[in-house]
Symmetry: C2
Subunit: 253 residues, 2 copies
DNA sequence: GCGCTGCCTTGATCAAGATCAAGCCGGATG
DNA sequence: CATCCGGCTTGATCTTGATCAAGGCAGCGC
């Protein structure tokens, strides 16, 4: 499934026309996604953009593919184009915790570390642009705006991780599930402001449980309660409509 | 209480002598701390170091002092010299979660944000060097090594936050308490490699509970169990000796 | 000395969420 | 079509940690 993107304002922000983009001889497959990739890399000058494009491969990964394993060497960064990537850690006895979800246009991969401190896995079908480690680091070196952008992503992820620590440590199961629904509603479509009211859950119940520090049974029961309380509707297991956004937000603690 | 610091290797790393440091006319009060402040700021050239020193005030804060409030404007960053600063968030109904502890020589304060996303509070008596926001940002602007250092701190804090999410989401109370003891043992003395075996807990039982997402009663019971199992000894409520480090580590899950 | 306060511990009981178990549903496969 | 399988839901029961309650202990002011 290829999602539609509204790209006009990104082009304007970059002071480029669509023709400029296409003239760069970029080996991308997914036309609707290519602009986002460059959006991520911000105001790179044309020569850097060309260099980046030559080094980049766009890859479609089915749900469940492991992008980077915990404690394995990282050879490349993945720029998320469509879909959701989950970051997780596993204790020795198999208990798993998802420690972050990444949406377009996040960059997957721990900068400046030779070993990934966590597993990155496609939670839904995803499309990524894969940039070799050396390429990106070289671009960072000579490109202040890219550097700033990555610093901003790191700080934003830190804020999000700390927000989620409150959810994990202090919220009830009902509040956790409500918080997750709002999180997904706000992140799913980066082009739309505010929360989506209708969307498909990009991740399984097990992933939700692992993100919230709960069991799938508890997650399922909380969904059922939200449904019977008339706050959401669920069809085909994954398709959510938020009927009463206000009451959902109130349940977030 | 002023802790003793071994400073020789820091000076060597900076290619400076103690005389160089003292010649800079730095308005610091705590002689044993000033070197650490510069350690944080890395290889700043002498003129930047002088500029920084002129703009900096060293402050002693008793335990409980609020350094920055949640959602308040931030006018300055605090460089931790001695003691422990806790970062926390509070839900509307008062539930609190500590989302990070900062030890020397961490820099307290969210870069590039006008409003602090969290509360920063002295968990123990602390000494900080307070740097005005504009000063630090100006130094970052023209100083690649400082920039890199702050990026590294942000990424390290992100790693730590994500590690802690596993603790919050998936560990039992016993594992949480064991993990905390190890965390404190490894962070308390930044000059010593490995874990301290004997130390004073720098934070109260309530703070521990708020960091672990537990209640004080549960924390207290877990301490009692570690004691009766012969893994630690506790005297005067705060003074800890780790008798059996291996078994403690095994309890971390 | 006495009582007060803040911080911590311990015990009894309760409830949220985990665990165990069964069954449902939709899609794939023969 | 029947069967299977993975993902999800629902119910019954159990366990962990929360809650409620009481008391210990060190420091401090009178």
């Amino acid at each position: 499934m290829v999602r539609q993107h509204r790209t006009g304002y990104i082009l304007r922000a970059m002071d480029m026309t669509r023709r400029d983009i296409h003239s760069l001889d970029i080996p991308v497959l997914c036309k609707s996604c290519e602009v986002r990739h460059k959006g991520m890399c911000g105001a790179l000058p044309p020569e850097d953009l060309q260099y980046l494009s030559r080094q980049t491969r766009q890859i479609e990964q089915p749900a469940g593919t492991e992008l980077v394993g915990e404690s394995t060497d990282v050879g490349a960064y993945d720029n998320v184009m469509c879909g959701v990537v989950k970051l997780s850690k596993t204790l020795e006895d198999g208990r798993q915790q998802i420690i972050g979800l990444q949406f377009a246009p996040d960059l997957v991969g721990r900068l400046y570390a030779s070993e990934s401190p966590m597993t990155a896995e496609a939670a839904s079908d995803v499309t990524v642009c894969r940039v070799p480690k050396a390429t990106l680091e070289r671009l960072i070196e000579r490109n202040p705006s890219l550097r700033k952008r990555l610093m901003d992503q790191a700080l934003r992820e830190l804020d999000e991780a700390r927000d989620w620590m409150v959810t994990l440590g202090r919220k009830t199961a009902a509040e956790k599930v409500a918080s997750l629904l709002l999180l997904i509603a706000t992140h799913l479509d980066p082009d739309a402001p505010g929360e989506a009211r209708v969307f498909d859950l990009p991740i399984s119940r097990l992933d939700i449980a692992d993100y919230l520090g709960l069991t799938i049974e508890t997650v399922s029961r909380q969904f059922s309660r939200l449904k019977s309380d008339g706050i959401i509707t669920i069809t085909a297991n994954r398709h959510i409509e938020i009927v009463n956004l206000e009451r959902l937000a109130k349940r977030c603690g």
